[in-house]
């Protein structure tokens, strides 16, 4: 199928311990960078989708706030979206649908956050304020038992995976090490200059067993924006288009510790069918790595290996530089920067444009990108390609 939409611009602000602007400032800057990348200006935007990070708080009207901040006057599409970590890829999907339907022509899809505050930077794991337990809203019962935060909930699922499939901390560590090797080739990665061995991984402190610190994604201040427009129009813009060949979502519901399966199983069917491609056509894989564990689960659920064999697959070196299946080639959210699902999308665009420099995967033509949220409960997939 000939793709209808394309990514025409990418904007990534400085990432990490950047304290001189807030979440709105990062969002505006990311959109400006993305517009400049595409060779457009803000007057060309008629669509705006925002995934608010933690700093936007309960900003149900976050996209309106961003519109006001940017002085956008002619939006025909505006919404604040939240499907957890699946949102970023889902925003591109909704933008594509709206463009295909003729509602608008040029949509900025935006994520920004600034949870790190000086002078006391937080640790590298996500915060402990989660209110909704994986097992329902327990009104303080989880806290009474000492269960706090998302790390603790994912840890429960990871422990089941270890029990059922024999997955081990060596396997988790192999994910961290492989991605750090990629980050060491990416000057924009926060941990670019920090090598990592499996021994270093095991020495890193426990956060919530079975998760070491290095199993958990970074916390980052920053913003990322992507400009989506029609495939036809994208051809006339400044940079080579990255075509949206396939897209799908999967929201399985149920108890993730019971199923040990993400929504990738559903999402990939729709996305690959739309693209008319198979896994064998995929050159680079950019997975949503909130934890090392989720990389293993998603490799299984996409079918790159059998269920339960994600750990050995990574430990075998297949996902590292030089491996058969390059995964999270910028270092991912574990080692590069954590902009929710915008991290894997941005790296796919960089690879498909051939902008990866020292980390460039040769002949990268097709990228599979995932978003994952809600403790393996929400999922989105994009199949992107530099070729139609």
């Amino acid at each position: 199928m000939i793709p209808y939409t394309a990514i025409a611009g990418l904007g990534i602000t400085q990432q990490g311990k950047v304290y001189d602007r807030n979440h709105v400032g990062f969002a505006v800057e990311a959109v400006q960078l993305a517009l400049a990348d595409a060779g457009l200006d803000r007057g060309d935007l008629d669509g705006l989708l925002l995934n608010p990070g933690l700093s936007w708080g309960e900003a149900a009207m976050g996209s309106f706030q961003l519109q006001q901040a940017m002085g956008l006057r002619n939006l025909r599409l505006s919404a604040t979206m939240n499907a957890g970590g699946a949102t970023a890829a889902a925003m591109i999907q909704h933008a594509g649908g709206a463009i295909a339907a003729g509602m608008c022509t040029t949509v900025a899809c935006v994520f920004s956050d600034a949870p790190l505050k000086p002078p006391k930077p937080q640790g590298a794991e996500k915060g402990g304020g989660g209110s909704a337990g994986a097992y329902g809203f327990a009104r303080g019962l989880d806290a009474a038992y000492g269960q706090f935060g998302i790390n603790a909930m994912y840890a429960m699922v990871a422990r089941r995976h270890m029990h059922v499939y024999g997955t081990s901390n060596d396997h988790f560590g192999a994910v961290a090490v492989a991605q750090r090797q990629w980050a060491n080739r990416n000057p924009a990665a926060q941990l670019h200059e920090t090598p990592l061995t499996l021994e270093d991984y095991h020495r890193s402190r426990w956060v919530v067993e079975p998760f070491h610190l290095l199993d958990c994604c970074l916390v980052s201040n920053g913003g990322v924006a992507v400009i989506v427009t029609s495939a036809e129009r994208a051809r006339d813009l400044k940079r080579p288009p990255v075509y949206v060949r396939g897209m799908g979502q999967g929201h399985p519901g149920g108890d993730p510790a019971e199923t040990l399966t993400s929504g990738a199983v559903l999402a990939k069917e729709t996305a690959l069918r739309m693209a008319g491609l198979t896994l064998a056509d995929v050159d680079v894989v950019e997975l949503y790595d909130c934890y090392t564990f989720t990389v293993i689960v998603c490799l299984e659920d996409y079918g790159f290996c059998k269920k339960g064999e994600g750990g050995p697959f990574v430990a075998d070196g297949k996902t590292a530089p030089g491996g058969a299946l390059p995964v999270n080639t910028g270092g991912g959210q574990l080692s590069s920067f954590y902009m929710w699902g915008m991290t894997p999308i941005s790296e796919a665009v960089i690879q498909l444009r051939g902008d990866g420099a020292a980390r460039q995967v040769p002949d990268a033509r097709v990228a599979l990108v995932s978003g994952n949220g809600g403790i393996l409960s929400t999922h989105s997939t994009l199949i992107l390609s530099g070729e139609r």
Partner: protein, 140 residues
């Protein structure tokens, strides 16, 4: 006895039967009147059959460890003296799952599938918290 410094759950109307039963040293779980599915914590309707009718029924208190983690980070000062401590998900014999703690078992000794049985601890005048103990031999 030192004062209790960990978070004390609020006795909300929907969880009142749970806490009242715990005071009596009984474990109760909500059961759907439509399809009989046990569920915990309390919810307004059954996600299996969508019935809004439910009842609280006493369960055996027997179950097994379904999963667990070990918290090494202090998220609340009340747990500062306890890290590392384990949080468990117990799968009750009747089917519902509960987040809880094990008493008398070191984190390193916890195994998935361990048989456990409910025990009760009074933590305030209003709240008694069900926790679980390992069943080390048949009949205990």
């Amino acid at each position: 006895m030192p004062p209790y410094t960990k978070p004390i759950p609020t006795v909300t109307p929907e969880l009142r039967p749970f806490f009242e039963a715990a005071k009596r040293r009984e474990l109760v779980v909500q059961r759907c009147r439509g399809c009989g599915t046990y569920r915990f914590p309390a919810r307004e309707l059954c996600s299996n059959c969508l019935s809004r009718a439910s009842e609280w029924v006493r369960v055996s208190g027997a179950g097994e460890v379904f999963s667990f983690n070990v918290m090494h980070q202090v998220y609340h000062p009340g747990f500062a003296g306890e890290v590392p401590y384990a949080v468990v998900i117990v799968k009750l014999a009747e089917g519902a799952k509960m987040t809880s703690n094990l008493v008398g078992v070191l984190p390193g000794d916890i195994r998935i599938g361990m048989p456990v049985r409910v025990v009760f601890e009074d933590i305030s005048d209003e709240v008694t918290l069900p926790r679980f103990a390992a069943v080390s031999s048949p009949g205990v």
